[in-house]
């Protein structure tokens, strides 16, 4: 399941639902991303997506992850709109027979979501607003998978 939402969500409840009824899975790995306050420098984060396009690009990458790591299932829930520090931004869960595939697929999906997924991010703080573009570290993280 891949979904965008403008509502805060409970990662624990998502994990419980994701694990329910799995008798052949063996391993579920999850990642939960939270908005940072940056010591008061950021008061609001605003994420803009292109509805339809954003989900479709994420789905392509999810299909690649499923094939590469032999996943049984995955779930990606991503916030859009205004997000306050401490709120959840993203939740990724991966299910596989064994832990290595689940861990690696979760990491792979997050590197994509953090650097190349079609989102535009604006940070607002006491000094005003600015649009954020990918950091070099995000590109380095992504390059780990290009072998």
């Amino acid at each position: 399941m891949i979904r965008l939402t403008d509502q805060a969500f409970d990662p624990g409840a998502l994990l419980t639902d994701f694990c329910a009824g799995r008798t052949e899975t063996g391993a579920v790995a999850t990642f939960t991303g939270l908005a940072r306050a940056e010591a008061g420098a950021t008061t609001t984060l605003e994420l803009e997506a292109y509805p339809g396009f954003t989900e479709a690009r994420i789905a392509e990458h999810a299909a690649a992850a499923t094939e590469r790591f032999g996943l049984q299932d995955l779930m990606i829930l991503h916030r859009v709109g205004k997000i306050a520090p401490g709120e959840t931004i993203v939740f990724v869960a991966t299910a596989a027979s064994h832990r290595r595939a689940a861990f690696e697929a979760c990491d792979f999906l997050m590197d994509y979501l953090k650097s190349r997924a079609p989102f535009w991010k604006k940070e607002t703080g006491p000094d005003g607003s600015r649009w954020i573009e990918p950091r070099d570290q995000d590109h380095t993280d992504l390059a780990r998978w290009e072998t």
């Binding site: 292109y50 979501l113 990918p134």
Partner: protein
């Protein structure tokens, strides 16, 4: 009429994020937007700005028809 969408900083530069415009092609549309708003024209031509036609990335020019959706996408920052 084509539906024109601006994302990220492009929408802030233009002061709008969605408009209906009559235009036969992407090249024509770019020229028209640049003519009425020089800052937007520069922003649309800046490195890393991609264009999606009906939700698929296109490179170079393409013809538009009634109901086309053209989106200008600045570098994607991820979530």
């Amino acid at each position: 009429m084509a539906r024109v969408l601006l994302f990220g900083r492009l929408g802030d530069v233009a002061g709008w994020r969605e408009r209906e415009l009559e235009s036969p092609s992407i090249a024509h549309l770019r020229a028209r937007l640049a003519e009425e708003d020089e800052a937007l024209g520069e922003a649309l031509a800046s490195p890393g700005v991609q264009v999606a036609l009906d939700q698929a990335i296109v490179r170079g020019d393409a013809a538009l028809s009634a109901g086309s959706e053209v989106a200008f996408l600045p570098p994607m920052s991820g979530g």
